[in-house]
Amino acid sequence: MSPSADSSATALARVIEALLFLSPDPVPVGELVEACEASEVQVRNALDLLAEELAPGRRGIVLREIGGGYALATDPAAELPARRLLARPKTPPLTPAQAETLAIVAYLQPVSRPEIARIRGVSSESAVQTLAERGLIEESGRSRFGAVIYRTTELFERLFGLTGLDALPDPAKFDPTPEDAAELRERLLKAGEQRAAG
């Protein structure tokens, strides 16, 4: 890289740092390209440079790829002093019911409230309402039968550090192996048959 290309990448990295500092939401690469009137390659090079300068442990601010774009965030080391300074309410941990409901919305979205209740086996009104109030899920219309359907929000991706919905862990990871499931089914049936015969 020539010195001038190098210094122009540095200049671009500086501008991008400023843009991310100002923007209230993660900024997609495409918008950076437009705002900086640079090429995508140039923007990506500058982002690489910035990521290096803001690598964890180097500064108080880190670069994060999140919710389909880039954002600046504080290093977790500053969390406690930040709470002392800003007295911001803690993001309370999720209850199991909220976590289950959120998982169902995240993986199956768009998903209706009755569907959530069917999977959880209980009415999930209060979990749905709390998640909506905290801005983690939002209404995205109505099903054919008039039930409200839900999807996750950008804030959800941000708070869970996801670059996008496709960055969610594969739900099959949580399933028993097909062999286990088949065997279990066998045993359930056998128990039923024995009962019927006896």
Binding site: F21, L22, P24, V62, R64, A71, L72, A73, T74, D75, P76, A77, A78, E79, A82, R88, K90, T91, P93, L94, T95, P96, A97, Q98, A99, E100, T101, L102, A103, I104, A106, Y107, I119, R120, G121, V122, S126, R158, L159, F160, G161, L162, P169, P171, F174, D175, P176, A181, L184, R185, R187, L188, L189, A191, G192, E193, R195, A196, A197
Partner: protein, 250 residues
């Protein structure tokens, strides 16, 4: 109290409820041998000891125990009744299994999301307002984002008057209060202090009859009325009770 904290001491099993669930799912113990009533009693006793009802945890317990009860009741059904069921034993086992596994998948995915949430909580994002000069929208930076036809269509929609809504499906409601009033009036007005249910309400619709029965239960509880039915499906005779007419209860 989380279900994991529920320690059980049954004849067939001693240990936490979660473990019992796992063992039952693996069929290491037949569900038929597990006295679910004792599990419920143990849970309630623990609740009383701790003295606090945590709604989320109680819900989780209810989901699990309800699934187990349903599964067990299916297993216990005699073979002769099976053709009358919508589902054969095979389908029933499949469905219940699928439901329990599906629930477990999202429970575990939820736990994974919670872990992620915890791990991310340390990263804080700036939420300062934009500087004033950037808050003004610039015309130069705007370009077409909407189709003008959207406006024409919206206006066209406004020209049409919507059809009168069909309310034929809305049934009249029956109020318990009113049925109580009707019963009290009838009893007070009858010379013998007795009325025959069929005579009085035989021509009413089923909903009204059902709510009237509820009203009777309420009056029985308060001692305002007694009722007798000498044989199955026979006439129901309602009589004034000991505290009838002693003032209208709240």
């Amino acid at each position: 109290m989380r279900t994991a904290d529920l320690e059980l001491d049954l004849d067939v099993f001693a240990g936490p409820f979660d473990l019992l669930l796992a063992i039952v799912l693996r069929e290491e113990i037949s569900l038929l041998e597990v006295p679910l009533g004792e599990v419920v009693v143990a849970y309630i006793e623990r609740l009383e000891e701790t003295g606090e009802l945590e709604l989320e945890a109680a819900t989780e317990f209810l989901v699990l125990i309800a699934a187990l009860l349903e599964l067990k009741s299916r297993l216990m059904l005699p073979a002769a009744e099976e053709p009358e069921l919508d589902l054969g034993p095979e389908e029933a086992a499949d469905e219940l299994l699928a439901r329990m596994l599906e629930y477990r998948r999202y429970r575990d995915a939820g736990a994974e999301l919670s872990r992620r949430f915890e791990a991310e909580r340390g990263y804080l994002y700036r939420s300062a307002p934009l500087p004033l000069e950037l808050r003004r929208v610039s015309l130069e930076a705007s370009r077409q984002a909407y189709d003008p036809d959207r406006l024409g269509v919206a206006l066209g929609d406004l020209l049409s008057t919507p059809a009168v809504p069909d309310v034929s499906h809305i049934r009249p409601t029956v109020s318990l209060e009113k049925r109580l009033g009707v019963l009290r009036d009838l009893l007070a007005g009858s010379a013998r202090g007795r009325i025959d249910f069929d005579e009085a309400f035989g021509t009413e619709d089923r909903l009204t009859q059902a709510v009237t029965i509820f009203a009777l239960l309420e009056m029985y509880k308060k001692g305002e009325a007694t009722w007798t039915q000498r044989e199955t499906f026979g006439a129901i005779e309602i009589a004034r009770g000991p505290s009838a007419g002693s003032g209208v209860p709240a």
